[in-house]
């Protein structure tokens, strides 16, 4: 387990020193969301109706923005070879990198989302479902994204390829994430949506690290 903690601490420290990833993701999220009132018109009813979808799609694209860097820097400077020949299991190291990525990009998105909900005139009943849904959903985005990020290592224009690979896989998370917010806004229960998002998270946590580790070994060979 010492390897897990060491890599997590290193990635958090690097993110803190550079700071640009978190700032870029949050700024992107903010800008995409605030484009919609200009695009569809500032009527509160319209915005309120499509607000959940806008927030989720923007969160998804923002998460994608930082994912292509998940393994890229370590791949370019040779760190990946040393990580893969270190004692810790590669899948454990993938989880450490994903956790660091989520803490520095996913979690700030979750925390910023209520503020942007206000901007879109989201009904007050919807906020618990929005925050809880994003809290469960954004780690899934990171974990699935890790598979794509590992697969596109070494490819030209990997970022674009990554979007094509993993955006379709994000659809279930999007459906149930938006579903939770809409159910809550309509005054219905949203527990079932959250349970499904939780199930996605557990499934992704069980499978994605192994698949990503296999892809990393392929990239290292």
């Amino acid at each position: 387990m010492s390897g897990f903690g060491a890599l997590l601490r290193r990635d958090l420290r690097l993110a803190l020193r550079q700071g640009s990833d978190t700032a870029t993701v949050l700024a992107f999220f903010l800008i995409v969301v605030s484009l919609f009132p200009f695009g569809v018109g500032p009527e509160p009813q319209t915005l309120s109706a499509i607000g959940a979808g806008i927030l989720w799609v923007a969160a998804l694209l923002a998460a994608l923005l930082s994912l292509d860097r998940l393994f890229q820097a370590d791949y370019e400077d040779g760190t990946l070879d040393y990580l893969l020949s270190a004692p810790a299991a590669p899948s454990l190291l993938v989880i450490a990198k994903c956790l660091a990525h989520w803490l520095t990009t996913g979690l700030p998105l979750v925390l910023l989302s209520p503020l942007l909900g206000l901007l879109l005139n989201l009904p007050s009943a919807a906020y618990p479902a929005l925050v809880a849904g994003l809290a469960l959903g954004t780690p899934v985005l990171t974990l699935i994204g890790a598979i794509g990020a590992a697969l596109v290592l070494g490819a030209r224009r990997g970022g674009v390829l990554l979007s094509l690979l993993i955006l379709p896989l994000y659809i279930p998370v999007l459906i149930f994430g938006v579903g939770a917010v809409e159910a809550a806004a309509a005054g219905q229960g949203f527990r079932a949506h959250l349970l499904l998002l939780g199930a996605f998270l557990l499934g992704a946590l069980a499978l994605a690290p192994f698949v990503a580790a296999v892809a990393l070994r392929q990239a290292a060979e």
């Binding site: 010492s2 390897g3 601490r9 290193r10 020193r17 040779g78 760190t79 020949s85 070994r217």
Partner: protein, 213 residues
């Protein structure tokens, strides 16, 4: 490190893409022994070292540690080896000490070995400096300091002298000799006349087959 440690390769062949890099490579290395790997560019020195780390799979032949294939238990093999490739993997935004501490923690090494390891490669004065201010030779020394900080039975070094000055080449030679004296194994690829007293030699010449001397 026990005296039973033994690294054995038999009839190794390596493919890169469609091209045969080498075949018929065999050698054996016991506890306390070093192997110097030489050969022209493209003869497969790096490829052989990567096979020995378990990062790649040989196209034919076997690699065994104390009689068991390293691919049967890759976790155990990773615990016993320490690898240096062409790249230094130094993070420019971390300080010199933080860079080394990370690798030591990743391998579960004792934190009190960091300072002596930095001193060993004359990096004590730069310990708190962000690594982006290091020269190429200093970055190489930082990568090599891992070998002074992390205990491992098998050292795999790919062109470790790149960018090093004479004094530090001597430091490295002494470190490898010390490692072998303590019963460790080392495989070192080099162009230079790196002094490894008592080391076996293996010259790779390309796909035509080689013999250990």
């Amino acid at each position: 490190m026990t005296s039973a440690d033994r690294l054995e390769c038999r009839d190794l062949a390596c493919l890169r893409g469609e091209r045969l890099v080498f075949k018929g490579v065999s050698f054996a290395l016991g506890a306390g022994e070093a192997l110097r790997l030489t050969g022209p560019n493209g003869s497969g020195k790096s490829s052989l070292l990567r096979l020995l780390t378990g990062l790649g799979r040989p196209a034919a032949g076997m690699i065994a540690w104390s009689g068991a294939s390293i691919f049967d238990d890759p976790d155990a093999h990773r615990r016993r080896l320490l690898f240096l490739g062409h790249q230094d993997a130094v993070k420019p935004w971390l300080t010199v000490r933080e860079n080394l501490s990370f690798w030591a923690a990743l391998h579960g090494a004792q934190p009190d070995r960091i300072a002596p390891a930095l001193a060993h490669f004359a990096l004590t004065a730069q310990a708190e400096l962000p690594a982006r201010f290091l020269s190429q030779g200093q970055r190489r020394r930082l990568a090599l300091a891992r070998f002074a900080a992390i205990p491992a039975a098998l050292w795999l070094l790919d062109e470790p002298t790149t960018g090093l000055d004479d004094a530090n080449v001597a430091t490295l030679e002494a470190l490898v000799a010390e490692h072998c004296a303590a019963g460790g194994l080392a495989v070192v690829s080099t162009h230079l006349a790196l002094k490894l007293p008592g080391a076996a030699a293996l010259a790779l010449t390309g796909a035509s087959g080689q013999q250990a001397a």
